[in-house]
């Protein structure tokens, strides 16, 4: 077993870097502040993902940030090793043509970079499981129930307890039906009865679930803050795939009750509104 | 020879073990079936090689083998060209396209394929 190759340094008389380096005073200096600021900044970063319009979405955002932090760590390490190799071990113009040390293996190192990634991956998986259990959980008695049915090429939202449905007509990337949902309550969405596979996707919620013929999918969302959220179809369903836009407007519980009452018993309501 | 037997034995073991774990975790039919079939395929190949293990000795598994030792063996027949493969291919293609464009094409493709296969076999014997 041989250790990683030692590369001989030609020539004599290396400069004394230690003596030449500027003296540093101990304590909090610009480097520490800089590093701490960077850490705070990165810690607050969402790295591009939506902060999450639902509690489940916020959970997902947290997991994503953990994954991204790990990605930065791994990426920086590997890129540094590659760049170091390219710079340090390139063939010099004055090369004498001799062979470098022909190292073939280093068992402890190889074991290390097998075991450590397994540990990292196991940790990521544990954190993933916890988030997934929370995000996928459905309660037996949600405050609000709505059924969403995808069809070519729009959505129909059914509120069975209030005997009405809103169906989108003439959808486009910017126009589609709008439904209202209450803030702060558990909303249970049921997906069923589509013609081909569609997918109920609200980017602001960091969430989608497929609407599959012959299958019923159920998920819960809780929206902490009011807002308008755009939804779309995320499974190719034909030429109108981009037209299946819809909007969710999260409002106070009282406003939601007013909206339900206004639509109560009206059966099928066609809606082409809102951009 | 032993190398190929063990290679397919590992494939078989993987199919059965992972298929078993997958079934117990999910009770899902399609994935379990495919994994178990993978195990079965590996078993067929490695089992055959196991049964024939005494009949084949490969010189290339000897790390010290020298080229001179191999000159007696006939390792295979390497033809310098054959007209049959392209006709077999065209026959298969026409046959499959016949399912789309007309049943008569299936017949034509099948005849072409069989004729070319017979030609190939005769070439082997000749």
């Amino acid at each position: 077993m041989r250790l990683v190759a030692q590369v001989a340094v030609p020539g004599a008389g290396r400069p004394d870097w230690h003596a030449m380096a500027p003296r540093r005073r101990p304590g909090i200096g610009p480097t520490t502040i800089g590093a701490a600021s960077l850490a705070l900044l990165l810690g607050a970063c969402n790295f591009g993902m939506n902060p999450g319009g639902t509690t489940q979405g916020q959970d997902i955002n947290g997991l994503y940030r953990l994954l991204f932090w790990t990605a930065i760590g791994v990426g920086v390490t590997v890129y540094a090793l590659i760049l170091w190799s390219i710079v340090r071990y390139r063939r010099r113009p004055d090369d004498d043509g001799s062979l470098p040390d022909q190292t073939r293996y280093h068992v402890p190192l190889e074991i290390a970079y097998t075991v450590i990634p397994v540990m990292i991956v196991a940790f990521l998986f544990m954190m993933t499981l916890r988030t997934e259990d929370r995000v996928d959980a459905v309660v037996p008695n949600p405050a609000v129930k709505v059924t969403a049915v995808g069809f070519r090429w729009q959505w129909r939202f059914e509120f069975p307890d209030s005997a009405f449905s809103i169906v989108g007509v003439n959808g486009s990337p910017t126009t589609g039906p709008m439904i209202e949902l209450p803030v702060g309550q558990t909303i249970q969405v049921t997906l069923q009865a589509s013609d081909v596979i569609h997918s109920f996707f609200v980017p602001d919620f960091n969430f989608k679930r497929d609407d599959i013929p012959g299958r019923t999918n159920v998920f819960d969302i809780t929206i902490p803050r009011a807002g308008v959220f755009r939804g779309e179809c995320a499974e190719l369903c034909g030429i109108g795939h981009a037209d299946m836009t819809f909007y969710i407007r999260a409002v106070s519980a009282a406003e939601f009750q007013r909206w339900l009452a206004a639509n109560q018993g009206k059966g099928l309501i066609e809606s082409a509104s809102t951009g | 020879m032993k190398g190929s037997m063990w290679f397919w034995a590992y494939v078989a073991a993987f199919g059965f073990v992972v298929g078993g774990i997958y079934w117990l975790l999910t009770y899902e039919d399609a994935g379990t079936a495919m994994l178990l079939f993978m195990g079965a395929c590996g078993t067929v190949i490695s089992g055959y090689l196991f049964l024939r293990r005494r009949h084949v000795r490969l010189i290339e598994d000897d790390p010290d083998a020298r080229h001179e030792e191999a000159t007696e063996e006939e390792i295979g027949h390497f033809s310098s060209g054959s007209v049959w493969p392209i006709f077999m291919g065209i026959g298969i293609a026409i046959g499959l396209l016949g399912f789309i464009f007309g049943r008569w094409m299936i017949v034509f493709g099948a005849i072409l394929f069989v004729w070319a296969t017979v030609g190939l076999m005769q070439e082997s014997r000749g």
């Binding site: 591009g48 063939r91 990337p173 960091n206 | 063990w6």
Partner: protein, 553 residues
């Protein structure tokens, strides 16, 4: 592409090509055919990127766009990346093991004709009534059913893919038999070049993965034309079943598209570092682990269906990162302490490493189902897959071309043009696909030709289109490099790079049955050992044996 060397004599040149059973000619047919399909698929991509530069539909019809992305994906996967790997394997695997040809030369010829015929069927489906298939390269039921996809375009797609599938299966049989049975004396399993090992493992994946695809497509065809209801829930069938069958094939397929190129990169980096491969056995075991794990991750493409056990597939998908990481560290370990030479093949390998790292890391992110709930079916996935297949495999394909072109033709490509191609493609590729991660995070879904103008998707799309044109320029320069090589015919010699494996012993191009003579084979670097047989630093009697169930493999 030359066949003037010791090839079949007499008759017309066309007859020679059509009746060939020589693995080198067949390899060239694969490589040439794949490159033509690559250009076709690339043209389709340029049309799509031109359409997507503006939010509203500009010059394509909705159906035309859907046909384009379907056939683009099908072409790049079934007609380019996979077959060009089989083409290089056809040409070089027998050379690397010291064999005169593949085990079954005539079946080998059948394979290449089936590939070319399948490709022609798929490309000509654009001319079918109702157009080509437009259900994506994945062809999910029920969109791909008779109701969702009327017209023969979908059927031609099915038959074309079946033809290429039969071709791949036959080649896998051939490669497996060749590796096990036709090695030259002294070429034990653990002295095989890594490219050969990876092709053997790729063949095993093909053998296990393609039958479920054939089953899925046959069942789809029966549903479409023979009154079947396999995927029809109204009559007791299951839509999700199609996805299980398809992805049990589909995931190993992506490793079929990557393992050969891992092998190529593993050949090139040691040569241009002037060192042996670091961690040979680890590399072999890592390839086997990747292949094994790839059979148990398929439903990570189905996390959002709610129909599969997400945790099982999640942990398996996370685990695949480990052997891939081992490969990266071994490549770095090979370069470490070496004397790196940055010839064009090495540049492509370094680009490969840089890009594939991003693709691999984002793959780990996708392995987490909750994160996938956001990413699935968005441009995040499109970016990930193009980083591994484009930034990864495509770069390694260029590396293979620049490395092995001298051996296949006897001529040299231009280092200067090659460098230019590399930089255009490297920059263009990253400008095209990095913005797509942003698009995915902002919620842009896949497979749409037009999108809302006010949600922040326009600028990344414009950037991506600019990048695509930069890449296209790189590809055009590459074509000119090919043309000038054949025109100027500058001789390359037997061994322009100082290669390690047996193909560099023989002439460029090799004679019909490959070798006039063979050196002793006592390590994984027989050509290197032969050229350095006087050098006391080089150990000649290297046994790499494995403690295992038998007396070495």
């Amino acid at each position: 592409m030359s066949s003037h060397d010791g090839e079949l004599g007499g008759g017309g040149r066309l007859l020679d090509w059509v009746t060939t059973t020589n693995h080198k000619t067949i390899g060239q047919l694969y490589i040439g055919g794949s490159l033509v399909f690559f250009l076709a698929g690339g043209l389709m991509a340029m049309l799509m990127r031109s359409e997507l530069a503006t939010p509203s539909l500009s010059f394509l019809s909705k159906n035309a766009y859907n046909e384009l992305f379907t056939i683009h994906g099908t072409t790049m996967i079934f007609l380019f990346i996979a077959p060009i790997g089989l083409g290089f394997a056809n040409y070089f695997l027998p050379l690397q093991i010291g064999a005169p040809d593949m085990a079954f030369p005539r079946m080998n010829a059948l394979s290449v004709w089936l590939f070319l015929l399948g490709g022609v069927v798929i490309q000509s489906s654009f001319g079918a009534s109702h157009g080509a298939a437009a259900a994506g390269w994945t062809a999910y039921a029920p969109l791909s059913s008779k109701v969702g996809s009327p017209g023969p375009g979908m059927d031609m797609w099915i038959m074309g893919v079946l033809l290429t599938s039969i071709s791949s299966i036959l080649t896998a049989v051939n490669l497996t038999a060749t590796v096990f049975m036709l090695r030259a004396p002294g070429m034990t399993m653990f002295r095989l070049p890594l490219f050969t090992w990876n092709m053997l493992i790729t063949s095993m994946l093909i053998l296990v993965a393609f039958p479920p695809l054939a089953a899925a497509l046959s069942m789809l065809f029966i549903d479409r034309h023979f009154g079947g209801h396999f995927f029809d829930p109204a009559h007791g069938g299951s839509v999700v079943l199609y996805q299980h069958l398809f992805w049990f094939f589909g995931h190993p397929e992506v490793y079929v598209m990557v393992l050969p190129w891992f092998g190529v990169v593993t050949e090139i980096i040691p040569v241009f570092s002037r060192k042996p491969l670091f961690g040979y056995i680890g590399m072999v075991l890592a390839s086997m682990a990747i292949a094994a794990l790839s059979m148990s991750v398929w439903a990570h493409h189905m996390f959002t269906t709610g129909a599969v056990d997400n945790p099982f597939f999640s942990i398996m998908s996370f685990l695949i990162a480990v052997p891939t990481g081992i490969k990266f560290f071994n490549w770095i370990g090979t370069m470490w302490g070496g004397k790196l030479v940055f010839s064009v093949p090495m540049l492509w390998c370094l680009g490969f490493m840089g890009n594939f790292l991003i693709g691999g890391i984002t793959g780990v992110m996708l392995a987490a189902p909750p994160a996938d709930y956001q990413f699935q079916d968005t441009y995040f996935v499109v970016a990930h897959m193009h980083y591994v297949l484009g930034g990864g495999s495509l770069f390694a394909i260029f590396a293979a071309i620049y490395y092995w072109f001298p051996k296949m033709t006897g001529f040299r490509l231009s280092e200067k043009l090659g460098r230019t191609v590399f930089w255009f493609v490297m920059v263009g590729f990253n400008v095209t696909f990095w913005p797509m991660f942003v698009l995915g995070l902002r919620g842009m879904q896949r497979r749409i030709a037009y999108y809302p103008p006010n949600v922040g998707w326009t600028t990344p799309n414009e950037l991506a289109t600019v990048g695509a044109f930069i890449m296209a320029v790189g590809v055009l320069i590459f074509l000119t490099d090919l043309v000038q090589a054949f025109r100027h015919k500058r001789p390359a010699g037997d061994d322009p790079w100082g290669g390690y494996t047996l193909e560099w012993i023989t002439s460029s191009p090799p004679p019909e049955h490959n070798f006039e003579w063979l050196p002793p084979i006592r390590s994984d670097r027989p050509a290197f050992d032969w050229r350095h047989r006087e050098d006391p630093r080089v150990v000649h009697d290297t046994h790499i044996t494995v403690p295992g169930p038998g007396p070495g493999l």
